[in-house]
């Protein structure tokens, strides 16, 4: 059974159809790439899946269950986490605290627990701290725990955001351009991180413009253009698809160059 099914989903902003009747599924354990030119509706689709806003039409099924209309934080509890295209950390918190915030939906201490420091609260807090530290280490940020998140180098911030999303133990992780603005070696790190994350049993839905990264890590690709799905298939098929090449490069004679 598909982990996530996007079924004929659409979103209109005024008269503009940002996403228009898109359907695809994400299988358990898969890395699915979502590509397309700027303005194709990729991030809008992420916002629909995470319920930042509601679709104008269609259905979204996560593990066979409709998730339309849930609050964004309930979506996280169901097991879908995301990162943002323009990094959105909590800038004045430390890196560790950022990840600890990510543990929120997997912990339960309330006001009184926090104030009275009950045994259960202290145990939970220690657990949150430990798990968050492990995630920082996994993302290669071991030494950065006490540093202010907003002052970390750009590449670190991107990885910290992934660590925060992973802290909620998602089943499905949505990564919105994790390699944007990164150099080659940083991109390689991201590539191996994505594979590590999949190795932990997390399904990944990836928006990325770096075609070499997409081609290397993704099992399948879904291509959007002007809000519509124009192709779906294995990376090699997509690379050879004339409609996709046209969407990226414009109409031309067979200009086969996947490195757009």
């Amino acid at each position: 059974m598909a982990l996530l099914r996007v079924d004929n989903v659409g979103k209109n902003f005024g008269g503009l159809a940002a996403v228009d009747g898109v359907s695809f599924s994400v299988g358990e354990g898969e890395i699915l790439g979502l590509i397309g030119p700027n303005g194709a509706g990729k991030t809008t689709l992420f916002n629909l899946i995470t319920s930042t806003f509601a679709p104008t039409g269609g259905r979204l099924l996560f593990r066979g269950e409709s998730i339309a209309g849930l609050a964004p934080h309930s979506i996280v509890r169901k097991g879908i986490c995301r990162t943002f295209q323009n990094i959105r950390l909590f800038p004045r918190m430390t890196a560790l605290e950022n990840v600890m915030v990510g543990r929120h939906p997997r912990s339960g201490a309330g006001i009184w627990g926090g104030v009275l420091r009950t045994r259960r609260q202290r145990d939970e807090e220690a657990d949150i701290r430990e798990k968050s530290g492990e995630l920082l280490a996994l993302m290669g940020l071991s030494g950065c725990g006490d540093l202010t998140a907003g002052k970390l180098p750009y590449g670190h911030q991107r990885r910290l955001e992934i660590a925060r999303a992973m802290a909620a133990e998602p089943k499905l992780l949505l990564l919105d351009e994790p390699a944007a603005g990164m150099n080659e070696s940083e991109t390689r790190e991201i590539q191996s991180l994505i594979l590590t994350i999949r190795g932990m049993g997390v399904t990944v839905l990836l928006i990325e413009h770096d075609m070499s990264l997409v081609m290397k890590v993704c099992d399948r690709l879904v291509v959007l253009n002007f809000g519509r799905k124009i192709a779906e298939g294995a990376p090699a098929e997509i690379r050879a698809n004339p409609e996709v090449v046209e969407a990226y490069l414009g109409r031309e004679e067979e200009g086969e160059d996947g490195d757009a």
Binding site: T50, T52, A71, P72, H73, V76, R77, C81, R82, F84, R88, L89, F90, P91, R92, M93, T94, L96, E97, M100, V101, G102, H104, P105, R106, S107, A109, G110, I111, G113, G114, V115, R117, Q121, E124, E125, I128, D146, R164, A165, A167, A168
Partner: protein, 315 residues
Amino acid sequence: MPLDWLNPYHLQVASFILINVLLAVSIYVTLSTGQLSLGNAGFMSIGAYASAILTTAHGAPIPAGVLLGSVLAGAFGVLVGIPALRLKGVYLAIATLGFGEVVRAVFINWESLTGGAVGIAGIPQMGREILAALRESGISPETVGLRSNQFISLSVFLILLAAAILSTLFFLRLSSSRAGRAYAAIRMDEAAAEAAGIDATYYKVLAFSQGALLSGFAGALFAHSTSYISPADFTYHRAVEILVFAVFGGSEHLLGPVFGAMFLTAVPEALRFISDYRYIVYGIILVLMMIFRPQGVIDQALIDRVARGGSPGGS
């Protein structure tokens, strides 16, 4: 008399400082989720009037009045906090300021219950009640060298001190816990907080009503310290004064508004001879602060520097 240095006047000033500390904590709590509420003078008046009416007209004991007054203010906090979710920044500030003025208008006009513009006099005073209770059981403060008025002021001061310390500790601990991290996350980026699985609606309404409850608590204690309240105690000036505690002291850390309240209440008393110009001094201080230290006297960096070596955490 060995305890002559215990001057009732100084104790009274100290008591006002402590009530303002409670109000400063109350505005900080709401602010720690990024909501600027100027309604705390209104919530304060709800707590004060509720407790005053319960103890004078219905003969309730002071602790019951204070408790019910606080809870009532907190309940109003929930009622105001839910629609307030739709407003941000200055719009929320203006709406909550309006709420405070509406409450005051109700107290002025509902004469049968509130005594109108004249207010309520003869509210049981905490210190006097304790003194009377002691006298009844045969204990007199004179045996420890205290005159009656000294004892009254001292006991009010001690009750308020306990209230201020407990409230400050409560919210200090809260801010370095899971809920406090949720507050801080919402304040820094609400959408990112939701994406991290935090129910922003719940925590914002919670913080709003906590602030309201604490304001109501401060108001009830105020009523039982002065034994006289009127709508003039809870005007727009009071709302702005509470805001100034946070602006001056700093709103990044709980201790900022606490310091602001202590400093700004103590200084005009120390400079009694320019007391009439207090608001001019406020204005000058605020302008200078905005130029030289826009984040307020106490910011996170200062706290970190002082607490170097302590465990990391807090907002």
